[in-house]
């Protein structure tokens, strides 16, 4: 092969394979992409929650895009505890000020960043959350402190529509 000069036929082969590969890719992509979230799933983008009945020290869990979201009205001690932690003690350093803009309210996805279980409230070595599946401990800011989870629990996009209502998404 290597000694031979390329002929017209070699060009035809290469061109045919190239066109064939593009054709196969064009057919395969719709078959792969149909598995991605569809329009009806994407449409459920935001949820509004009434939090007026929530007392300090209580948490409610709401469903947003099929995932639980924790909304916790934190006590003064919890806020103080979360804000006094040194950055170098954290596995995934994030300031509590950045996670809870309004310190009294902590809103985050109630999904363990290890393998997706729902952590339990008021449990664990750091008075925050504890994941029963593989033993990850989170603090009062939802930050990972001990265990296999790599990141803090995610804070979704949310805003206060008025004093009593949080809009998630």
């Amino acid at each position: 092969m290597s000694d031979k000069k390329p002929e017209r036929r070699d060009f035809l082969f290469t061109a045919s394979y190239a066109v064939g590969a593009v054709g196969v890719a064009a057919v395969v992509w719709p078959l792969v992409d149909q598995m991605n979230p569809d329009a009806s799933v994407k449409a459920l983008a935001s949820t509004e929650v009434d939090v007026s009945s929530l007392k300090p020290g209580n948490t409610i869990t709401v469903l947003w895009r099929g995932k639980p979201v924790f909304i916790r009205r934190r006590t003064q001690e919890e806020i103080a505890e979360a804000r006094s932690v040194k950055m170098e003690d954290l596995i995934h350093p994030e300031k509590d000020e950045d996670r809870a803009k309004n310190p009294e309210w902590l809103v985050m996805l109630g999904v363990c960043t290890h393998l997706g279980c729902v952590p339990l409230n008021d449990k664990g070595d750091y008075n925050g959350w504890f994941c029963p599946c593989h033993g990850s401990h989170y603090d009062t800011s939802g930050r990972i402190r001990k265990g296999p989870a790599p990141w803090n629990m995610e804070v979704p996009k949310y805003e206060f529509v008025n004093a009593n209502t949080i809009k998630i998404g």
């Binding site: 598995m35 895009r65 995932k67 393998l115």
Partner: protein, 420 residues
């Protein structure tokens, strides 16, 4: 394998066979020369074929009543259990059949490990077997999701989240697998589709597995090649058929015990609670047959490395024929390997037990030691052992240990020729 050309006796048979040689195939399977020293550990191939067919037949009938929708799946399974004629029986056979399938496949795999059946020239048979095993795990996992109970839902969540450990594209892959932002109806319907597909893929691979087996023929307990087919082998039918049939009957007694007397003992009570995305059960554990790998996953404190360790633990088996440097197949003639073999069996059982326990304290420590030993066995002990071990001399033939047994080679040879 048969050394003679086959011609059907009847004229019609000959006419048909000339056009499609199915009768030649049937004749090959009947006459297939099988080592006459095969023991009962060799009956699990037949038992596994039975398990696959049982799963396909019961699965097809269950699919006639099951509804793959997040709002109706759980209820439709209860409908099968309560309303459908013999639905309880068919579902219990299918659910326990999965466990029986894995029980048989583990015995089959460990038989290969003991008698060196994975070694040259049987590497391809072995690798096809590992692919079948991987597909079995995928089918079992997706099947477990279908009843849409708490364990179904959270098992699916944890296992699909394993892919999020992949750097950069992990999250995208998980969303793609789910068809949403969490395990939900789109996940259920695609799992049902794949759960339906995989057994037929396995069936195709089983044909290849047997085809590849029939090229070199069976390994056997002494692990040496057949010297003289007329002396060392018996035809598959009726000898092996009868033996396999008897073993299958014994196996079916165990199977029936679970189906009729303890149908839920291998499952989890939590799976009789409908899936709830807001509450994770206190203690998530996979089915028993996945526990050793689950223990390996949990014993590594890093997310990505844990997933890598778990997958490696399975995939390392595929390269086993090249990790084991010993030319001697059967552990009967490898005194040291025999001991390490039993340590590995114990190690896997310990891993399985640790996988069922909470990942903390002493349990976690033992799981870590057992994980390290598992890899040590395949990556260090096997390669070194093949070079260092002093093996016991092999018999001259399969027949010799029985009839020509003599410590003196010349004598044994003489006796052998007399027997002929």
């Amino acid at each position: 394998m048969s050394d003679h050309e086959y011609t059907p006796k009847s004229k019609a048979g000959k006419w048909f066979n000339d056009r499609l040689p199915l009768l030649t195939l049937a004749n090959h399977l009947t006459d297939y020369p099988t080592p006459k020293n095969l023991n009962y550990w060799w009956t699990f191939g037949g038992i596994l074929t039975f398990c696959l067919i049982t799963q396909i037949v019961t699965g097809l009938t269950l699919a006639m009543h099951y509804i793959a929708h997040a709002d109706m799946a759980f209820e439709s399974v209860e409908h099968i259990m309560r309303d459908v004629n013999y639905g309880w029986l068919i579902r219990y056979i299918h659910a326990n059949g999965a466990s029986m399938f894995f029980l048989a496949v583990y015995i089959h795999i460990f038989r290969s490990l003991f008698y060196g059946s994975y070694k040259s020239p049987r590497e391809i048979i072995w690798i096809i077997g590992i692919i079948i095993y991987l597909l079995m795990m995928a089918a079992a996992f997706m099947g477990y999701v279908l009843p849409w109970g708490q364990m179904s839902f959270w098992g699916a969540t944890v296992i699909t989240n394993l892919f999020s450990a992949i750097p950069l594209v992990g999250e995208g892959i998980v969303t793609w697998l789910w068809g949403g932002y969490s395990v939900d109806n789109p996940t259920l319907t695609r799992f049902f589709t794949l759960h339906y597909l995989i057994p037929f893929l396995i069936l195709g691979l089983v044909v290849l597995h047997i085809w590849a087996l029939h090229v070199p023929g069976n390994n056997n307990p002494v692990g040496i090649d057949i010297k003289k087919p007329s002396k060392d082998t018996v035809p598959f039918h009726p000898y092996i058929v009868i033996k396999d049939g008897f073993a299958l009957l014994m196996f079916m007694i165990v199977f029936a015990f679970f189906v009729f007397y303890a149908p839920n003992i291998l499952g989890h009570a939590d799976n009789y609670i409908e899936a709830n995305p807001l509450v994770t059960p206190a203690h998530i554990v996979p089915e028993w047959y996945l526990l050793p790998f689950y223990a390996i996953l949990r014993s590594v404190p890093d997310k990505l490395l844990g997933v890598v360790a778990m997958l490696s633990a399975i995939l390392i088996l595929a390269v086993l024929p090249w990790l084991d440097t010993s030319k001697i197949r059967s552990a009967v003639f490898r005194p040291l390997y025999k001991q390490f073999y039993w340590i590995l069996v114990a190690d896997v059982l310990i891993l399985g037990y640790m996988g069922a326990m909470p990942a903390e304290g002493l349990y976690l420590l033992i799981a870590r030691v057992a994980t390290a030993y598992y890899f040590l066995h395949f990556l260090v002990i096997l390669p070194v052992l093949g070079l260092k071990e002093r093996t016991i001399p092999l018999p001259l033939s399969i027949t010799e240990p029985v009839l020509g047994g003599s410590p003196n080679m010349a004598m044994a040879k003489k006796k052998e020729s007399k027997i002929e």
